[in-house]
Amino acid sequence: MLTKRIIACLDVDGGRVVKGVKFLNLRDAGDPAELASAHSEAGADEIVLLDISATAEKRNTLLDTVRKTARQLFIPFTVGGGIRSLEDASAVFDAGADKVSLNSAAIAHPELITQIAERFGSQAAIVAIDAKKMDGRGYQVFAAGGRTQTGRDVCAWAREAESRGAGEILLTSMDRDGTGIGFDCELTRLISTNVRIPVIASGGAGSSAHFVEVFRDGQADAALAASILHYGITKLGDLKQELAAAGIPMRWPC
């Protein structure tokens, strides 16, 4: 049976992981390559590295970071943040990424999704959508890290991304992000039932029960684990074990 994926997310700024990881006894908690390997060993099904560097100088270190991280990682590896062109994507793939995650650039230039899918395959093109519930207008898409309202409907944009060649949707609830009160299962189910490609749920995880909910009620295919791992609330192995015990198909033991 196809298992539900738990994806560990590393936020990187200038080549360093921004959020600490308390449970891992590492010499250097800020090294992306070391953290990615540690997550892989702990049972992560995939690694996502998001570059949140605000300045061009810091962004220049991204390829070096991707190369070092990829060299010792033998599970799927996605890189996102600041990928604006086919050239940007090509450089990230050459450095060892398996997939790229597009957000604002895909909204501004949707043809970029198709270009990447045609050159590297749909499986390599993830479209990340930041969604917020608006009174009377359903879920709306935001760009530029949640700062810019696009006026687009989330469901319509997810379908367009799929038709343009996206292989997966990384769906973040802005309302839940960082709250720890649980994923937005309504949003996740809405998108998951309206596209045929896998949906990765993100935002709001605070306990293993929240993952059970988003897989069962939200019909997510995968879920992103960021702060729940970073702040040591839950260990990855414990999380997967609890999900398996709750009847969610997991790659565990792995």
């Binding site: 196809l2 994926r5 390997s37 540690a38 060299r71 490609i197």
Partner: protein, 217 residues
């Protein structure tokens, strides 16, 4: 280093001789990850679209992701002939993902094209009853005895990403279940194919690639 502890046993136990490996580049996707896995195993793998380099290699990898139509490129540049003669000479050849599907007779994805025909049947799209593509970790189920899985005890989880699937053949050594059963790994003499990505399947995948390097020529 932590990474060494994950895959270190594979790395340090590597006792096979070093072999030259040609990773055939026919324009179907990004081959960095495949090369990287062999680098990790200390093997000399080269990404190439040169038929002579394929001819000289002691191991041949036919990788690939994307549309079956991309395999038409193999027919140009003499690559198909080079792969076929490698098979005849007894050189171990491994097809990965699309590369494995190309070893079957044909695919409904591009019905005008002919595959190698080493394995029987036509690759078909997943049924509408399941989401497609099939993306993620799924468990293998052993079939007949395998050379590549000789060092893998339990049926492992491995990473898949594909929309078309190969039928069960008499040479199927591992199957997988997703909207029905399909061939996840096939072996016939010196020809091997895996639908999943061993370079992305953690320890089980690295062990499989190591076993491929260690096969007798």
């Amino acid at each position: 280093m932590l990474a060494r502890s994950t895959y270190g046993s594979v790395y340090s136990e590597h006792k096979g001789s070093f072999v030259s490996i040609a990773i055939v580049d026919y324009g179907a996707g990004n081959l960095t990850s495949v090369k990287k896995a062999f680098d990790w195993l200390g093997q000399a793998a080269t990404v190439t679209s040169d038929a002579d380099a394929v001819h000289r290699a002691e191991r041949v990898i036919v990788p690939g992701v994307g549309h079956f139509a991309a395999t038409a490129t193999i027919d140009r540049n003499g690559l198909r002939k080079a792969i076929e003669s490698a098979i005849q000479r007894g050189t171990p050849v491994l097809g990965i993902c699309l590369g494995m599907q190309w070893m079957f007779a044909s695919s409904a994805e591009a019905s005008g094209l002919k595959g190698l025909g080493i394995f029987s049947g036509e690759c078909e799209h997943f049924p509408a009853t399941v989401k497609s593509p099939h993306v993620g970790w799924n468990r293998l189920h052993w079939g007949r005895e395998s050379k590549l899985f000789a060092n893998v005890d339990e049926e492992p989880f491995v990473y898949f990403t594909h929309s078309y699937r190969a039928p069960i053949d008499k040479y199927t050594v591992a199957s997988c279940e997703y909207g029905g059963e399909f061939s996840a790994a096939v072996e016939r003499d010196n020809v091997f194919g895996v639908q999943f990505h061993p370079e992305k399947s953690g320890t089980a995948g690295i062990k499989l690639l190591e076993a491929f390097c260690n096969l007798p020529c």
